[in-house]
């Protein structure tokens, strides 16, 4: 079981090349540029969530707390004069630290108990952030518009982050860590009896989830140039990640990517017209998926690909 093969790197390079090829299409106007940025961010967020939610089976409704830390770290450092690219390692590290700080105690809980704890942590974080005046309080932070990186650079940055997140996900899936996570997801007691340090495996993967989620927050700050606690620490954001991964296929590497795309499409073209009831529509969608296709779109798509291969070759 090699942890990370040359094939993965080639696939990653191929994905980046493909994204470079379609770049002119997506950079045609500000709206399509923004869609691409949101897609990259969603892929990053959903892949990160799936590491702990899909592989370890620990459903988090609190990832916005990590996203917000990344967004604020980048914004405050940028306002202090640091180049946005250089703020990203700090954003990832701070989010990872914060993630370990609350993940370490919370991950001792499993199932619905963990899920509820994450809601508590994230909501507490949002409320506190609203009251930190040094970080702009409830009105948030506005970033220097004149230093906007421009659509091409933002596209490239997003593409690299998204592809990197998928590669990290594939690497974790095939590693010793990934094997231990799936073991503890299936049966924590049997995993422990087989030598798996359940607590440490979970905290380790949660640190990776948190770092990637913090990077997504950092990227969001860089392309929107305006952050407020209600948005970057918001419960809506946390829920949307769960939806993306469930729609795409939980516990798979490509599921979160698919889900990120499907979610963006629905959000932009279907649900936007429903305005006030869009959350109710999301709820209905979630119930629909869980009843009809609990494993998400990815396994079906894999089935389709196999079928086509059989027909063709």
């Amino acid at each position: 079981m090699s942890s990370f093969t040359r094939r993965h790197l080639l696939l990653g390079a191929g994905a980046l090349a493909g994204l470079a090829l379609v770049a002119p299409l997506l950079l045609a106007n500000p709206y399509s540029s923004r869609l691409a940025q949101l897609l990259f961010m969603n892929i990053l967020l959903a892949s990160a969530w799936n590491l702990v939610g899909g592989f370890a089976g620990q459903i988090s409704f609190g990832n916005a707390s990590l996203f917000g830390v990344g967004a604020y770290a980048t914004s405050m450092l940028w306002l202090a004069g640091v180049h946005p690219f250089l703020t990203m390692p700090a954003a990832a590290s701070l989010a990872a630290l914060y993630g370990v700080a609350w993940g370490w105690p919370c991950l001792r809980l499993r199932g619905p108990y963990f899920a509820i704890a994450t809601i508590g942590v994230a909501e507490a974080t949002r409320i506190v952030a609203n009251h930190i005046e040094a970080a702009g309080g409830a009105s948030g932070l506005t970033l220097p518009l004149e230093q906007d990186l421009g659509p091409v650079l933002l596209y490239a940055l997003g593409a690299v982050l998204a592809v990197a997140a998928v590669l990290v996900s594939a690497a974790v899936r095939r590693s010793r860590l990934g094997l231990g996570l799936i073991a503890l997801r299936e049966d924590a007691q049997a995993a422990a009896a087989s030598g798996v340090n359940v607590a440490r495996q979970q905290v380790t993967v949660f640190a990776i989830t948190a770092a990637l989620t913090g990077l997504a927050g950092s990227y969001y700050a860089v392309f929107t140039l305006y952050i407020v606690p209600e948005k970057v620490f918001g419960f809506d954001l946390s829920i949307s990640l769960v939806l993306m991964v469930l729609v795409g296929g939980i516990g798979t590497v490509m599921g979160p990517v698919l889900g990120a795309g499907i979610y963006l499409f629905l959000e932009q073209f279907v649900l936007a017209s429903l305005a006030d009831i869009h959350l109710a529509a999301f709820g209905a969608l979630l119930i629909f998926i869980i009843l009809l296709e609990p494993r998400g779109a990815a396994p079906r798509l894999a089935q389709l690909v196999r079928l086509i291969r059989k027909r063709v070759g």
Binding site: R185, D187, Q189, A190, A192, A193, S194
Partner: protein, 248 residues
């Protein structure tokens, strides 16, 4: 293969007590597994056999008393540490990793259990799959395995952690006579490779057949220790299983 006698202790429980609320499941229990030995552990339902396994393997901590593995105190350690020190277990009801293949499940034990220099995890896993006769099912998803196969998979996963002591919990229960014979054969091979075994079993043919000594529990305390022939004649054992005769 006698193996018993003056061998040194692999596992020792000294005065172990475990209470659940008002119920004392294990009461001041002393138990010894000697080097090179298969120790049968029997007793009526509720005698405390599985609780004792949970104590030895670190699932529960004892309320008092000590547990030693090769002379080292382990009763305060978590399960994964005890496993890495060389004590592995199977479960009464198999606990498979349903989303994996048989080989992957065994690989978990090989990757996370005790490290032995000069061996690869995949090689160890393959050896354990072969030993438990699971080769034809090596790449089958675990959810497609039947009960007998799942029991052997539990055994393979435990063996892959490279234990010096194996706790086997009712591996023959629910199996047909052919499967029981096959399982007993596997346990003999495990023992021949130098692993000490504590074997909890209700299927008497199996446990009496391969145990060097038998330790009998009732209500969490020892009522008899001896060779299989000795304990089956012991009045206290007969009473625990069958009840007192009406005249006495």
């Amino acid at each position: 293969m006698s193996g018993s006698g003056a061998g040194t202790a692999l596992v020792e429980a000294r005065g172990v007590v475990k209470r659940f609320g008002g119920l004392t499941a294990v009461h001041r229990l002393d138990l010894t597994l000697r080097e090179g030995e298969i120790l049968g552990l029997i007793g009526p339902n509720g005698a405390g056999k599985t609780t004792l396994f949970n104590l030895l393997s670190g699932r529960f901590a004892p309320d008092s008393g000590k547990i030693l593995l090769q002379g080292r105190e382990i009763h305060h350690l978590p399960s994964h540490r005890i496993c890495r020190l060389g004590l592995a277990r199977t479960f009464q009801v198999p606990r498979p990793f349903l989303a994996m293949t048989a080989f992957e499940s065994v690989l978990v034990g090989a990757q996370f259990g005790r490290r032995v220099p000069g061996t690869s995890a995949a090689g160890t896993a393959d050896r354990c799959v072969a030993l438990t006769r699971l080769e034809p099912r090596r790449n089958a998803p675990v959810h497609s395995l039947n009960l007998a196969e799942r029991k052997r998979l539990d055994l393979a996963r435990a063996l892959a952690t490279r234990p010096s002591v194996l706790l086997v919990d009712e591996v023959a229960a629910g199996l047909n006579p052919t499967e029981v014979r096959e399982t007993v054969g596997i346990l003999r091979e495990v023992h021949a490779s130098g692993i000490g075994i504590i074997y909890v079993e209700h299927v008497m043919e199996a446990v009496m057949d391969i145990s060097h000594r038998v330790h009998v529990l009732d209500h969490g305390a020892t009522i008899a220790i001896g060779t299989p022939a000795e304990v089956t004649r012991d009045p206290a054992v007969i009473e625990a299983y069958l009840g007192r005769s009406a005249g006495s």
